[in-house]
């Protein structure tokens, strides 16, 4: 393991001067943010840096008396924009972040089930490049539990556009995954 607890400690100490809510927020959102950034194509180390920067920005944002509403989408938006700014491999994207041989995917209790699951994930991975960038981003944020309105705030697009993108993306994947 590497680079994990250092940013945590730094950000956590910065947050201790803030509020228990902020600390709770940090614990809740750190992982989803990391996953989102890695799915965008950042390396885990880059993602750690961006997440730390995002939380430090949030700390400054809150301590200078700014709005405490929509913190979740605020954090994702800051992280998203930082990823865009620093990312040379941004175009590489969500092409193949996973090793097909990974054994930590769920529900592998029987050989048949395992085979089925692997085939399904293989199809899914093959289908993901057919999504547009916006569709992928919408689905990734949706997978982290963001509402359409929040996704729109992160990506700077209308909620109705988010709804259309999600709808199109899921239909594409369903068609190609043949489920």
């Amino acid at each position: 393991m590497s680079g994990d607890s250092v940013p945590f400690a730094l950000s956590a100490s910065a947050f201790s001067t803030s509020s228990p809510e902020a600390t709770k927020l940090f614990e809740e959102l750190r992982k989803p943010l990391l996953r989102y950034l890695v799915c965008l194509g950042l390396s885990p180390d880059e993602a750690q840096d961006v997440v730390q920067d995002a939380f430090l920005s949030l700390h400054r944002h809150l301590t200078s008396g700014n709005s405490q509403e929509n913190i979740r989408s605020w954090l994702f938006r800051v992280a998203h924009n930082q990823a865009r700014n620093r990312q040379t491999s941004y175009q590489r994207r969500f092409a193949a972040p996973l090793d097909a041989s990974r054994d930590d995917l769920p529900d592998h209790r029987t050989p048949e089930r395992e085979l089925l699951a692997k085939e399904k994930f293989r199809q899914l991975r093959a289908a993901i490049p057919s999504l547009t960038e916006a569709e992928r981003e919408c689905l990734l944020l949706r997978a982290e539990g963001l509402r359409y309105r929040e996704i729109g705030e992160v990506l700077g697009i209308a909620t109705s556009t988010v709804a259309d993108s999600v709808d199109r993306a899921i239909r594409k994947l369903a068609e190609k995954c043949n489920v």
Binding site: M1, S2, R35, V38, A163, V166, D167, L173, A174, C177
Partner: protein, 179 residues
């Protein structure tokens, strides 16, 4: 194609206005086409979420063993707490402090201060009343003193090495902490 099917995904995401959602609640169970599509969309959404959540969010130095670190540290701290007061005479715990000239060995700069390596630790001097036999393999953890004690309790650079022996059933068979 059923006219309701265009709203299936937004309906599943609870993103429809109340009136439309109520209409979908009524319609979908009664419409085979919508039901089948809804199942397919739900499955793809779930698979995508599982897929996105399985991305590795930390650099892969020892991906298969990362979980041992918190487990072993917790075991070490617990053992120090539980066994410490009894003293070394009737336990296997040995705590000796000594200022070390060399810094605590860590894997690399920017990595966490706690490093785990699997190794065969040299056999320690056998004691006649040994309650357990050394079982290989052994895990060796380097723990800086300030991870166990309040800051300032020990000079900077003082650390411990915890040798954990795992019994065949996976439980911690023995623990030796040494500086």
């Amino acid at each position: 194609m059923c006219k309701f099917s265009t709203k299936l995904i937004a309906w599943q995401d609870n993103e429809l206005p109340d009136a439309e959602a109520a209409a979908m609640d009524q319609h979908v169970p009664a419409c085979r086409e919508c039901r089948e599509q809804a199942d397919a969309f739900r499955e793809v959404s779930h698979a995508f979420a599982v897929y996105a959540r399985a991305v590795p969010t930390r650099a892969a130095s020892s991906p298969r063993r990362w979980w041992l670190v918190p487990a072993a540290v917790a075991a070490a701290v617990l053992a120090v707490v539980l066994l410490g007061p009894r003293g070394p005479a009737n336990t296997r715990l040995e705590v000796r402090l000594r200022e070390t000239a060399a810094p605590i060995p860590v894997a690399a700069p920017h990595e966490t201060a706690i490093a785990v390596r699997r190794s065969r630790v040299r056999r320690r001097v056998p004691k006649p009343t040994a309650a357990w036999q050394p079982v290989e393999p052994t895990i060796q953890i380097v723990i800086p003193a300030d991870a166990l004690f309040p800051p300032g309790a020990f000079p900077e650079g003082v650390g411990f090495v915890a040798d954990l022996r795992l019994a065949t059933d996976g439980s911690v068979g023995g623990l030796v902490v040494r500086p």
